[in-house]
Symmetry: C2
Subunit: 570 residues, 2 copies
């Protein structure tokens, strides 16, 4: 193949494809330059004056290297890997570094393998990180465990690019044996380890980095980002759906330190991607906040390639892979054309590849294992009239620990006339029968129940409702359809199946978005306050590492005390 | 070990070594910053306020990451790998990317292995490139060949870091099959390929890069360097003994493109290193020419590490290797202290490691294989009175092709009364008996002969003299001692053995330098003009790729016609 590159680069033979009459971002000079881009096979062979078997006039538009999302959980789109690709590729993303943390919590290594395999059906290149913190804590029941021994076993596999975000920062700083085993395993085979270290600074940050952790995507301020970059970390500027740091944290980027910054989305919803873009959206936000456009593009391409050792990625230059995104301009970043390995894969926002056939291995299907749920399951027996309750504030995932007064009758609490709802977390992986019960204040639902199988990080079955019958109906519906979202209202049930691990739908993106929106509207119609994300706000109530009060399948969890607690208050 | 890094970084335990009260170059911020540098085992674990089992006060001085020479032929020092290390490490160089091109021309893969093995005796880390162009041409007899098949066989070996400078640019642009085979082999195992492409630009440069060649150290102008960097090459700024490009070519470096530049020495003599430094010298020259000192240091460290995939190298930050050079200042770059893997290896210009015991495998010894040379060997029989002669200009390695008039008597030329000398290239690897004869004009030698076994690139035995008896005596002396430098004058002979492949001396550096200087003075005393490097100017007369007229063991070579020619002129 090199022979063909040489001949075409010399102009002795025609290139396969030439992008003509446009400009391009040269990530090596930091300038927007002119020149035809000549492609042979999957490689760029030269920029200059070239002719090709196929010539594409991109006059007036700007070519950039294919964008790289340096840290993303595909699961947050609630779409299959194939449909995720169909959403992001038309926005110019050609490679992602995916951490299938949620899939791994349900399916273990098979969830990791699923992402690696499914990616082969699409032009989106997916580098898969082995999740490092499964389960997140020992106070909940997850579908799977990835121990230090498992890490040693799998980290060297060819489908594993590195070790996923090391959320267990306390474990690192305490030198936990299993944590060290995971890190040593990654280092032994020279693989990148991603970090997750909100608020860490000074000597604690030194220690976290000295453990061999290379990146961080949790910076909340420019100062935090500047310190991490100064200590050699690669810092992801994150623009997700809920967490948007680019404008604020991007202020840390200077001409001297910019080679240590990356872009990522982390968690981004399907509808958001469709409407506002993907890494293209991060670029738009960065440039609007004052970042030089060519520098922003360099951060989204060459930097990510260097951080993750992605050979041949991240530049428009000879011998680089012909992964190219053409944008109308470097302000709005509307994507006109995408080439992957020299092939046109999207045009004017539309994917040109087929995602009809999905890879759906048995390991990620039928993952909801609960028996028939009786209404009585949700009876909440208190010793007195005072109980602990969670309260959510719109726009935050932190819960407040409240003590509320609630009456009981016939061995169950009386919710009527209160602002309280019952919350249940039903273990759904192993059929243990574990059910944790709690109270949520101020969410606004009336006359029914919501249920879902997306519940960070162990993804048990969460049910919220004001009556036991609807709660049982919603839970049983999810058991029937293998997980997803459900609403029960006076006996009538509607749902959307997440047939992949109870986390993601294999539907086409548009259909998923339409059906999901319908369910959300139904939830809001039942009184859920619009400040909340009707379903996904609930998914964080089982996440035991965020203050203050949480619920797992083992019961209420006091995050400050880091222990299970009873619901009865003094 | 990570456990110890973490504990020390946190300040829970003392570090092994702490550099106190100094400043350091932070290559991530491009600033000179303050802080104690804490080292545990071979790693830096943090910069901040630390205490250690051993504390070194570097007050007022500046620590930088260990310097990296990104392209060097150790052979040009004419010292063993061990003694080379003893010269460069005290100047702050802790890692070199070595291309044993000369050793390979004599000993083949065993010469490559020698460099890799000998390096283990010293704290200088040596990444060895597999030479790509052995022999340089087919018009000479080298000691060994490294074909495409050999490249396939050896490129994946653990002691091979990449493929050495691809001097055969025409072969690349012509798509020669054996050339492509070498390149494909390197790419197949993901190894770096170094370039050597003087004057290449435009589409020819695109083609050279499109073949997967990553670097170039032959830029003569800032414009050439800027084009190469803009096309994604890493450009070495070279400061050797003969070729000094840093001040001029360094002008191409800007705040936007600087991550694509490196420093190298390529070819640097032992005495020059001892007197003026190594990469430290390149830094001094760059800063004197106006380069920001922290940027210059970044180029000499982090950039080289990124180009060559040297994990853990190139920065003073947690989890980076504790390879540290401390300089008095960032102007003169006088080196006060060097740590390698956390151990003090040099102080105030003196190496603290023992190089007494040399690695001298049989493969690199006794490499001069010629029978007894009779004076009659050098009889030059002409058809008429007009002959081709080479003429050297001081300060250049280019030769002029001259036609001169010379008388003959008794089947040999008469040199008396002319400015001509006889030059012979005697094949010395395989005992073929090949002897090429030619004439050199204007060198100045009288009443004797010089001989040496350093003769680029095939390193045959070169003899220059004005009488056959002394020429034979000098050649026979080199055969006797296994190569090196020799002078014969009226039957008396003096010499310096290069017992390693006829290219390098295993003597201690100081003794080699003293004895070499003595021989040089003897040569100048015999009339060699001081504008020439008495021996080394001769070593290029057999280099068939530099204009205009050259001599190999197969005879005179016309570089412009790229063919052997007879000595008789019309």
């Amino acid at each position: 193949m090199i022979e063909r590159y040489i001949a075409a680069a010399l102009g002795k033979t025609k290139a396969d494809v030439v992008l003509k009459n446009g400009s391009y971002v040269n990530v090596f000079t930091g300038e927007v330059e002119k020149g035809d881009i000549a492609v042979v096979g999957g490689k760029i062979v030269g920029v200059g004056a070239y002719s090709g078997e196929r010539e594409i006039d991109i006059g007036g538009k700007v070519a950039v290297p294919g964008l790289i999302d340096a840290h993303v959980h595909i699961e947050s789109s609630q779409l299959s890997s194939e449909e995720f690709a169909r959403l992001v590729v038309p926005h110019g993303t050609t490679l992602i570094v995916a951490d299938p943390h949620e899939l791994a919590n349900v399916c273990g290594i098979e969830g990791v393998r699923y992402v690696a395999e499914a990616a082969r059906n699409t032009p989106l290149e997916v580098k898969v990180m082995l999740p490092s913190c499964v389960p997140a804590t020992s106070f909940e029941t997850s579908g799977a465990t990835l121990s230090g021994a498992d890490t040693e076993r799998f980290i060297g596999e060819p489908y594993v690019w590195g070790l996923g975000e090391f959320m267990n920062a306390p474990g690192v700083l305490n030198g936990d044996a299993d944590v060290l085993r995971k890190l040593e395993a990654a280092h032994a085979c020279g693989k990148v380890v991603d970090g997750h270290a909100p608020d860490l600074s000074g000597q604690a940050l030194n220690a976290y980095i000295a453990a061999g952790i290379r990146t961080d995507h949790e910076c909340a301020t420019p100062e935090e980002a500047a310190e991490k970059a100064a200590k050699g970390m690669y810092v992801h500027l994150r623009e997700g759906s809920a967490t948007r740091n680019v404008a604020a944290v991007g202020k840390a980027v200077s001409e001297k330190n910019f080679r240590r910054f990356l872009f990522c989305t982390d968690d981004r919803h399907a509808a958001d991607i469709r409407a506002n873009g993907h890494i293209s959206n991060a670029l738009r936000v960065a440039v609007a906040a004052g970042m030089d456009p060519a520098r922003a593009v360099t951060i989204a391409t060459l930097n990510a390639a260097e951080c993750y050792g992605l050979k041949g990625k991240g530049a428009i230059a000879p011998f680089y892979d012909a992964d190219i995104a053409v944008f109308d301009d470097l302000k709005e970043f509307r994507c006109a054309l995408v080439l992957k390995n020299g092939k046109t894969v999207a045009e004017k926002g539309t994917a040109l590849f087929d995602t009809g056939k999905k890879f759906l291995p048995a390991a990620v299907r039928n993952t909801v294992h609960v028996g028939q749920i009786a209404p009585q399951t949700f009876a909440l027996r208190l010793k007195g009239e005072r109980a602990l309750a969670m309260r959510l504030t719109a726009g935050s995932v932190v819960t407040e620990k409240r003590v509320c007064r609630v009456e009981s009758r016939g061995g169950d609490v009386v919710l009527q006339g209160t602002d309280l709802l019952k919350l249940a977390v039903i273990e759904r992986h192993k059929g243990t029968g574990n059910v944790g019960l709690g109270l949520l204040e101020g969410y606004g639902l009336h006359g029914g129940a919501l249920a879902l199988t997306v519940a960070h990080d162990s993804h048990n079955l969460i049910v919220l409702g004001d009556n036991n019958a609807d709660m049982a109906a919603a839970a049983n519906e999810l058991a029937r359809i293998g997980g997803g979202l459900a609403i029960a209202q006076g006996g009538s049930v509607q749902s959307l199946a997440f047939d992949i691990a109870g986390l993601m739908s294999s539907l086409p993106a548009e259909e998923y978005i339409a059906r999901s929106e319908k369910l959300y509207e139904a939830a809001y119609a039942m009184g859920v306050k619009r400040g909340f994300d009707a379903f996904m706000s609930l998914s964080f109530l089982a996440l035991l590492v965020i203050p203050s009060l949480r619920l797992s399948d083992k019961g209420l969890f006091d995050v400050d005390a880091f222990s299970l607690v009873g619901i009865d208050a003094e």
